[in-house]
């Protein structure tokens, strides 16, 4: 069981981690990175699966179904779009690596 304080610690550490990771990103990567982090919160799919998996009433089932549908869309769409964008930077690889 994660209680309030433990959650606070995890929130704080995750926030520092996210902040520090991004703090040096060059401008041309802003859009792909926005898209990439958009993909990452697609993990909401997992939570929606649990919600639907434990749904009992028809209303809960409907809401759960919607949640999984949307969550899957977030994850799949986020992946494709990010991948396509970063693909564009392929030719930049050598030049940027200098």
């Amino acid at each position: 069981m994660i209680d309030g304080f433990l959650a606070l610690y995890i929130f704080m550490l995750a926030a520092f981690t996210g902040y520090e990771i991004i703090s040096r990103v060059p401008v041309i990567l802003h859009t792909p990175l926005m898209s990439g982090s958009n993909f990452v919160h697609g993990i909401v799919l997992v939570g929606a699966m649990v919600a639907l998996g434990h749904a009992q009433t028809p209303l809960e089932t409907a809401i759960g179904f919607l949640g999984v549908l949307l969550g899957a869309g977030n994850a799949a769409g986020g992946y494709v779009v990010t991948e396509r964008m970063l693909e564009m930077f392929k030719s930049s690889k050598k030049a940027e690596g200098k």
Binding site: M1, I2, G4, I10, A14, A15, T17, I21, I22, R24, V27, I28, L29, H30, T31, M34, G36, S37, N38, F39, H41, G42, I43, V44, V46, G47, A48, V50, A51, G53, A55, T57, L59, E60, T61, I63, G64, F65, L66, G67, V68, L69, L70, A72, N74, A75, A76, G78, Y79, V80, V81, E83, R84, M85, L86, S91, S92, K93, A95, E96
Partner: protein
Amino acid sequence: MMAAFLPTLVKASYFLAALLFILGLKRMSSPRTARGGIVWAGAGMLVATLATFFLPGMHNLPLIAAAIALGTLAAWISGKRVAMTAMPQMVALYNGMGGGSAAAIGAGELLKFGAGEAASTTQLVLGVVGALIGAVSFSGSLIAFAKLQGWMDRRFVFAGQRFVNALVFLAALAAGAALVAGRLEVGVVIAFFALALAFGVMMTLPIGGADMPVVISMYNAFTGLAVAFEGFVLQNEAMIIAGMVVGAAGTLLTQLMAKAMNRSLANVLFGNFGAARGEAQAITGAQKPVEAADAAVMMAYAERVAIVPGYGMAVAQAQHKIWEFARLLIERGVKVRFAIHPVAGRMPGHMNVLLAEAGVPYDLIADMDDINPEFPATDVALVIGANDVVNPVAKTDPTSPIYGMPILDVASAKNVIVIKRGKGTGFAGIENALFYADNTRMLYGDGQAAAAELVAALKALDGGH
């Protein structure tokens, strides 16, 4: 509730997923490793999703599989098909879906708590806050999508708008407070979500389409937070961590994006930027037009040419024609480089993406800091559809809205040729002194057509082969 049933293997998969997400984001934030990053994160997502099927006590498995298949298929196909230039609105769309999913989880949990399932106060509070943020992100992102897609061209502004928005927001908060206070009735839940969704719409309506990348980034951070909070309700560490990392990273990214445009986030959200403003500063002189044939000759016999693309090139889809023209120049021995301003276009990296699409090799592309010292030694700077990013006013006029933004210093090139359709202003809506300078010539016309004329003129020079 969930944590207690998680078998170790599923827990381990979630941990692996969280680790891969962080490592993936880390790679994505450096140009050298960016491409691998999304693959790492994708592997994490796959592992976590598969593992979830093996949680004990899960019902509705076929339904879950069907929903996943449906959502994945629709998003995958749309994401593959869409044009490169439509990427920002697709990000908005998928981000909105994530926010909606978090809100749906929140709704489901609130209903369960209403039906008597035990919950700590912290879970209740975070569940409500997460649902609120998720719902706002959902409806707000959809409006952002519609605007960028061109479905909603107007900005909806009316007197007292901020006041009405604030009221709706307070009403949503009040409904949320009622839920936390234990009034977990279906009616209150519905009112709460209706208000939250309405606020997301109303908050986004008055914002101009060109500001959308920043707003989308903000909603991206919102969704991250919503996922983290609902993750706490479900006691799911992977959601908590991935959500919070995105929440923090997205917040910083939003600020960086606003800063790159020389704006503050508050200004983007409430500034009504791009609306009709007071009269433009008067600029003396006249724009001096030039014919495509003359412009082509000038560049054909130049030693160094710098091509400066902007939003207009994206609108006209002129990148292929321009690259054809540049290739012809290079064949003639002209040194050609593309000069990219970090916020040229309507999203960061916009020009890089377009030029890469057209096949321009990366070593011909220079960014601002590299090329600015070279303009004085450049014979012709060819500006195509760029305006604000080459406006010298950013350096000279402290009252200008773009004052302080670093610009591409094309004015110091020996000659400047500007391709645009007419006297239209750019994103900032202001006059550009460059177009009136002595060494500037205007080549009027749609970007693609003008580039085609340049190509034709150059080929004619070579004897029409």
